[in-house]
Amino acid sequence: MDYIPNADADLSVMLREIGVASFDDLVAAIPASLRQFKMELPVAMSEPELQRELGAMAARSKPLDALTSFLGAGAYEHFIPSAIDHLVSRGELYTAYTPYQAEASQGTLQLLYEYQSLICRLTGMDISNASLYDGGSAVGESAYLALNAQPRRSRIVVSSALHPEYRQILKTYTAGMEVEIVELPVRDGVTDLDALASAVNENTAAVLLQSPNFFGCIELMQRAGELVKPKGAWFVAVVNPLSLGALRPPGEYGADLAVGEGQPLGIPVGYGGPYVGFLTSSKQLVHKISGRIVGRSVDTEGRDAFCLTLQAREQHIRREKATSNICTNQSLMALRVGIFLSLLGKRGMREISELNLRRSHQAAEAISRVPGFALKFPRAPFFNEFVVTCPVSAQALCDRLEGEGILAGLPLGQFYAGMERELLVCVTETKSTADIERLSEALGRAARREV
């Protein structure tokens, strides 16, 4: 039974008005194979049966805490203070959605305002919106904004070291627009800046560089920005927010927009979501950026009050002239980020960032000492991820290590042709010296068996 409340009489009136004989005629353009889709569901189960069934299904997936994971590539395992789960599961917060009667929800607005303020402090940027869905959509939005705000410019330049899935999302976002996406080659693990210099022209709306990039390497963001600015294009920095406790923030190297995935800040890896995207900008671009922005004001009695501000940017006011269609945010996940950053504070962020640096470098050294293994990009500085060249197929090694309860990393061959022996390894503060030793021993052992 379906839930479309059209009586047969209603249907025949509508079909006659449209000028077709039947519903099948109306949808004739859809291939018959798709129209004949039938759900073949088993008979309904009782609740105890269903619980058993679901339990068995859940047992087939391996929870991260039962494994030792060196998998990163956009989703990172970090320490999550238990206060976060306790606070966000409070009823008044757990139900909070993007506020429609915004000013009636002062508490929600204040939390988002705090989130924005913390993200601005972390990135060094002037403005943060109240969050987006995830890092990929934040990247898509950044290019979309740059194109819409500069209608005479139609080129987007991205590094091929930008997360391959972010590049896919970018293509989806800009499908149907007049846009030319130029991908820059990578040299020694970082974007080729000579290629950047020749790709940026007066027709370029934005240049997107990720740092640390997909290979974990830290890009020369300052120099890249200097190449972009004279052409009038926007310089978009895609950053891992957790790295900013140790690395220079985008606000210090003149990024016009800084965007990224907020997951490392207090959100579990999960199944790839829900995550949260952040989007920040320089003050000059505040009237162009997408999403909601919470502002701090005073009420009629002079007390602190929060409000949605600068709404003339948004599509419910600017209509077709708006630079973006985003009219929501990701409040609950933004709240997790806000709590994470408040609990860690400036010093905590620096410490966790430095711990990631130390652990990953310790692991890189240990793996380099395993016969047959070497760092792919030994000259490029990296944060908490690095690429290892293996003596055999990286996928084969990963399969073997998974049997021992170790996720060794991401085999890069699936994203980059010719990198079948390359493995992207991530080592965060969650890994101990013993974990690192276990990984390098297991890699060595598995490689000997493969040969």
Partner: protein, 140 residues
């Protein structure tokens, strides 16, 4: 409604004040426009040196209630932009025909002046609009 007689107008509620020999023009938003928009909070104006084309969007005005495009009444090159209104857009609400001017241009084609409305033409448009609005109110 305040409609000064020494200015020219457009249907999209811009005003034009012509300079010596009709070579230059100062452009602004009419009093009617600022009142419809309510409190103006932001202006995105063209830059000095920009070439603008009559009838096309050349600037954006944002109020607390709305965002609206400003159309170039005439073609030409922007020679001056009112910095004071960029810093304090409320000046447009306070003095739309005076201190609230937006930018000045050097005219590219004086023949376009023919297309502009006189103060009485513009006043007529406003009164037609007013009676139409009243009719609509009655229908509601």
């Amino acid at each position: 409604m305040n409609v000064p007689t020494d200015l020219k107008y457009t249907e999209s509620h811009e005003w034009v004040k012509l300079g010596k020999n009709n070579e230059t023009a100062t452009i602004g938003l009419t009093d009617f426009a600022q009142e419809e928009l309510t409190d103006i909070v932001y202006l995105d104006l063209p830059k000095v040196g920009d070439e603008i084309e009559a009838g096309t969007e050349c600037a954006v005005v944002e109020s607390v209630k709305a965002a609206s495009d400003i159309y170039a009444p005439l073609s030409g090159k922007v020679t001056e932009v009112n910095q004071a209104v960029l810093e304090d857009p409320a000046i447009v609400n306070e003095d739309a025909f005076g201190k609230g001017w937006l930018f000045k241009i050097k005219l590219a084609d004086p023949a376009e002046l023919e297309e502009l409305l006189s103060d009485s033409d513009y006043e007529e448009i406003l009164s037609e609009k007013e009676s139409r609005d009243e009719d609509e109110d009655e229908e509601k």
